[in-house]
């Protein structure tokens, strides 16, 4: 289960960022920010010609002793960054992928809402609920 999930716009400002537990929010914000560099690195490494074939899922961006950071970028250069607890060893790569897939789906639903202006913060309740379901179950 993720401890922090962030949606970053193309211009690298956050559209949505949420983490638990709340007191470590700042640390996760910082982590997400630094991981954006890694995302850019991976994206640019693919090369322009490969954009079409580029895999959306970027995989593990950055492991530390406490947690791991995974990245996912959409075709519109919107990035999803997920921080998961390292102690949660049961998380397989496929599970991370499915979580990103769900995120992506929810994000597109938010986009489809005509009342949502691209570039705004995401306030959608459905999106919130989906993210909550993916977050760590902190009692």
């Amino acid at each position: 289960m993720a401890v922090c999930i962030a949606v970053i716009a193309k211009e690298n400002y956050p559209l949505y960022i949420r983490s638990i537990p709340a007191e470590q929010e700042l640390k996760f914000h910082y982590t997400v920010h630094t991981s954006l560099d890694v995302v850019d690195e991976k994206v640019s490494a693919m090369g322009k010609a490969l954009v079409d074939q580029r895999e959306l899922y970027l995989g593990l961006l950055y492991p530390t002793e406490d947690y791991k950071v995974y990245g996912y970028v959409t075709n519109s250069k919107v990035k999803f960054v997920m921080v998961v607890d390292s102690s949660n060893t049961a998380l397989r790569d496929n599970e991370i992928r499915s979580m990103f897939r769900k995120l992506h789906n929810s994000y597109t639903d938010v986009m489809c809402n005509p009342f949502y202006n691209p570039g705004d913060r995401i306030h959608s309740r459905a999106f919130d609920n989906m993210v909550t379901s993916m977050m760590v179950q902190v009692c």
């Binding site: 397989r92 790569d93 897939r101 789906n105 597109t108 809402n113 005509p114 009342f115 949502y116 959608s124």
Partner: protein
């Protein structure tokens, strides 16, 4: 203070109010805060309130305990009905209407009302009037006021709307009811109290239905009977909000009026349905929505694009955030456009919101859009669904059953992911969870939550597809690359070895499953190959790369094929015999040496055979003697030791027969094994005799078997004379496989399971390896960077 006896309804109501006031759950309520609000809302003069508080003892204690609170409530009821406040009046006054509290959420109302553009005055009056106890009176009120409304002007609407306030009421202009209801502290409170007074009303409502008591009611006395309260608060705000909702034009207002007035008829009709569905769309409302839809999109079966809908709903002057949420709820298929149903649902939610009702987290069932092609039936279904929707937890709406079936019908039809929908509809029909007013209705079902994004659309949704994909991939992951898949390929490749493999498998007596045979086959195949190669090629090197000991189970997939058994067992038996002869050592070598003393070894072999049960193919037993004999004959013939063939033959024969019979007598399972072993042993020497190549270590007994099988095959024909003996053996053998079969299957199943686990673990392992590689790479890169930095640090 004397004891307080409360009726059930009162009990419930009071406990609700108490819990409402007891925000800190301390079981005692301070006299400030909500209690004060509550009493103020009772619209009693201050001195009366003070008197009440004194009477109930709160002033003494300084706070309201539960009993004090109840007493106070009772006194409020007494006061509101105009009776003098006495301590004894608590119990003496029977059939007291429940105390009424208006404006229990004054602040909320004022907030809502301020949001309405035009009704400051209404706000004032409105806030003063708030709906009393949830709906008790409301129902009656509603019907009454609706009647009264019709002839009226805008005030009529207000009347009609005001009574509507109570959610329990058959939802005339349900938004209004919502609003009032919403004002109450958490719907739960209302619902519970609703349950009590439910039966309460009906007499009232009927009594008042016909009357234009609305007028009288309308005049609104300050401590009016509950009904009046309703009417009185039926102020403009409701109407005004309605009006505000359609800021577009006067025409809208008139439409609203029509809607409101028309609603009354429905309400009266629906009086009997005492449950409350605030989310129901009445016919009039729906008609109105449809008309609005037509203004944007003339084709009723078409879509309203998102931008047009955005403009339209922005006119309602709701905050964008709320509009966004409404859109999320109502755009059922997430396509960015609204169908008629979706539009109606959205509109309804907007109306509700404007009237102060909080938006639900999930789309209420009655607002769920139906498939476009079923719109006609959907409309009917909509209505019935709406009717069927139950607002009060306590009662099963009479009309619910008729509506539910229609819902059920529509759902399964419409649903593409049928199983989920059917579950939902079943649940909705069976459960009455729909009745939770402020909880979000039927969609609270996890199924519906999940199903929601998998709409009833005709086109496969991306989500749906992805879900399917997920399911598929998930299933893929769960399916282990069965060894069965692997093995057959091996088998197919090794045509030459197939027979030998089968033979080997057939020889297995332990009841190994076919999977076992498969798994062991490759090994055996390899063994067989190597064995054959080694034997045929007589090159010691060939015996080198033997796969792991196939000993355990050369299960045979076709034990029934006697041909194999006939031929192979022969050789196998001999091979086994030979191999067994040298379990530890390199079989081939010793074989020649074994020849001289086959007899000696035989007993050893027999024992060894029994120990090597795993390696004994089932097929072997069938013709052990046959194999033995031929083997021995050949072996003897080829043997350097020049043992007399006859002796060798006979001895082996006898011994084999004996051995075969002995093992069979001793161990069912081991029997065949033993025989096989014997044959192997017997064949081994023969093989050795045939090929000078030193046989591989014991693990290769099967190989040898196979090899010798091939070699012996031609010889088998020669020894047809042995068939007689073999037949005897065979006859005994068939009985074995039967009992072994069951074990075999069980073992095969377990082996299959183990193999699946193995593959899963193997995959996990590979993934971890991958991760490890990545990590190592990173480490290397970091080290490089460190190296680069190091020189600088020295500077």
């Amino acid at each position: 203070m004397e004891g307080l006896t409360l009726s059930d309804a009162e009990q419930k109501y009071y406990s609700d109010l108490f819990s409402y006031c007891d925000i800190e759950s301390t079981k005692k309520v301070a006299s400030n805060g909500r209690v004060v609000e509550l009493f103020r809302a009772a619209q009693l003069p201050n001195e009366v309130v003070l008197q009440i508080m004194e009477l109930c003892g709160a002033t003494r204690l300084g706070y309201f305990g539960r009993s004090q609170f109840y007493i106070a409530l009772k006194l409020v009821a007494v006061a509101q009905s105009g009776l003098p406040l006495r301590v004894e009046s608590i119990n003496t006054v029977k059939d007291l209407p429940l105390p009424r509290f208006g404006a229990s959420k004054n602040e909320q109302e004022s907030r809502h009302t301020t949001s309405y553009s035009s009704d400051t005055e209404n706000q004032g009056s409105y806030s003063g009037v708030i709906p009393p106890p949830p709906g008790r009176v409301q129902v009656k009120k509603g019907s009454v006021s609706h009647d009264a409304v019709q002839p009226r002007t805008s005030t009529d609407q207000q009347e009609s709307t005001s009574p509507v306030v109570s959610p329990q009421q058959s939802p005339p202009t349900s938004p209004h009811t919502w609003r009032k209801h919403n004002r109450h502290p958490s719907g739960g409170n209302n619902e519970r109290s609703l349950a009590g007074p439910g039966p309460f009303w009906s007499p009232f409502s009927e009594a008042q239905t016909g009357s234009s008591a609305g007028d009288a009611v309308w005049s609104g006395h300050s401590p009016p009977p509950p009904q009046e309260n309703w009417v009185s608060f039926a102020d403009t705000p409701p109407t005004s909000t309605l009006l505000a909702m359609h800021p577009a034009s006067v025409q809208d207002q008139t439409t609203v009026r029509t809607v409101a007035s028309a609603t009354t008829a429905n309400e009266i009709r629906r009086q009997s349905s005492s449950y409350d569905d605030p989310w129901k769309i009445t016919d009039e409302q729906r008609q109105y929505y449809v008309n609005q839809f037509k203004t944007i999109q003339p084709d009723l079966n078409g879509f309203i694009p998102g931008s047009a809908a955005k403009e339209f709903f922005t006119k309602s002057k709701l905050p964008i955030l709320e509009l966004s949420h409404i859109w999320e709820l109502s755009d059922f298929d997430k396509d960015g456009a609204l169908t008629l149903d979706e539009f109606c649902a959205a509109f309804h939610l907007v109306v509700a919101r404007k009237n102060g009702y909080d938006l639900p987290e999930k789309l209420p069932e009655s607002l769920m859009p139906k498939l476009i092609d079923l719109e006609d039936s959907a409309d009917v279904g909509d209505q019935s669904g709406e009717v069927g929707y139950s607002g009060s937890p306590a009662e099963a709406p009479p009309s619910k059953s008729p509506s539910m079936p229609s819902l059920n019908q529509t759902w399964p039809e419409l649903n593409q992911s049928s199983e989920q929908w059917e579950t939902f509809s079943e649940r909705s029909s069976s459960s009455q969870t729909l009745t939770q007013f402020d909880s979000n209705i039927a969609p609270a079902d996890p199924d519906t939550a999940i199903v929601h994004p998998v709409p009833i659309r005709m086109t496969p949704s991306k989500i749906h597809m992805q879900e399917m994909e997920l399911k598929r991939t998930g299933s893929d992951h769960t399916n282990p690359t069965s060894p069965l898949l692997v093995k057959p390929s091996d088998l197919s490749e090794e045509n030459k070895i197939n027979s030998s493999v089968k033979f080997v498998s057939g020889n297995t007596v332990d009841g190994y499953s076919s999977s076992d045979s498969f798994t062991s086959d490759p090994e055996q195949i390899g063994n067989a190959v190597t064995r054959q190669r080694s034997h045929s090629g007589t090159s010691p090197d060939n015996t080198a790369p033997p796969p792991p000991p196939p000993r355990p189970h050369p299960s045979h997939s076709r034990s029934s094929s006697l041909d194999m058994n006939r031929t192979f067992p022969v050789t196998t038996g001999q091979q086994q015999a030979g191999v067994v002869a040298h379990p530890p050592a390199v079989p081939p070598r010793p074989q020649p040496s074994q020849v001289p003393g086959p007899h000696v070894h035989r007993p050893v072999d027999a024992e060894g055979l029994i120990t090597h049960t795993s390696t004994s193919p089932q097929q072997i037993p069938e013709q052990p003697n046959f194999a033995d004999f031929s083997q021995f004959e050949v072996f003897a013939a080829s043997n350097v030791n020049e043992e007399p063939d006859d002796e060798a033959e006979k001895h082996p024969e006898v011994l084999q027969v004996e051995k075969s019979s002995d093992p069979s007598g001793s161990l069912r399972v081991a029997k065949t094994d033993g025989r096989i072993e014997e044959k192997t042993a017997a064949s081994a020497p023969a093989n050795v005799g045939k090929s000078t190549t030193p046989l591989a270590p014991p693990p290769k007994p099967i190989r040898r078997r196979l090899k010798s099988e091939d070699e012996l095959r031609p010889e088998v024909d020669e020894h047809s004379q042995k068939t007689g003996v073999l037949a005897a053996v065979l006859s005994s053998q068939p009985s074995i496989p039967r009992s072994v079969g069951k074990d075999k299957k069980a073992i095969q199943a377990s082996i299959r399971r183990n193999k699946e686990t193995n593959t899963v673990l193997a995959r996990l392992n590979s993934e971890l390896q991958q991760q490890l590689k990545d990590v190592l790479e990173e480490r290397i890169s970091l080290e490089v960077q460190l190296e680069q930095l190091r020189p600088f640090s020295h500077l």
